[in-house]
Amino acid sequence: MNEAIKLEYTISDDDFTRAGEASGDLKDKLKKMGVDPAVIRKVVIAMYEGEINMVIHANGGKITVTITTDEIIMELADKGPGIPDVKLAMQEGFSTAPDNIRSLGFGAGMGLPNMKKYSDEMTVETQQGVGTTVTMKVKL
């Protein structure tokens, strides 16, 4: 493939049962493209964590996935409350998730550290009251 492929997903606000649809769809598409399963696994785990975060912390948002010849870039942009202290949020175990989220199996404060672990590069741009954009790159 010579030209970059761009995929866009709108993550609906607060619909927990549907969170993961975008990551599942991306997984199918990458499989069809014949991408290495080990790379697919990294990409979809990182994106799924981000997708869940958008739903539980930021009322949804937009995900743009760009696939080039040498990397997959995921940009997750939301207009949520922003992250007041990114360094703190990146620590394993830090979570502001309420109890109802915990009873659904999330909110252990493992998502952001896991996204960092599974991506080759990750940046978090955030402003309180404006939103958060997480960009992750995984090399092919």
Partner: protein, 116 residues
Amino acid sequence: MTVNDIKELLDAKVLCCEEFLSNEVHTACGSDMMSDVLAFVKDQSVLITGLCNPQVIRTAEMMDITCIVFVRGKVPDEMTLQLAKERNMPVLSTARKMFEACGILYTNGLSGGKEN
């Protein structure tokens, strides 16, 4: 061990995707916390859980988990089961409790997987 071996050992019911009963499982993870599953599980694992919602199926899918076992006789709702079918994820249900189910599988040779 195969998915079918797990079914026999736990006297479990297969709720969907019977066609994958011969798939191989090497490791196991017992958890109700999907956050932890996403952070620690290796592939070709069985996920043993008491949590029943669509995100269990999604989590298993992203982690390339081989099959899910719901403990304490839990059966997921129709929507969750439908998602499992769509995503080709075998789902089993056993009357065993979490601790027992894990113990039985461990005794029969499944490990928790090595740390990376």
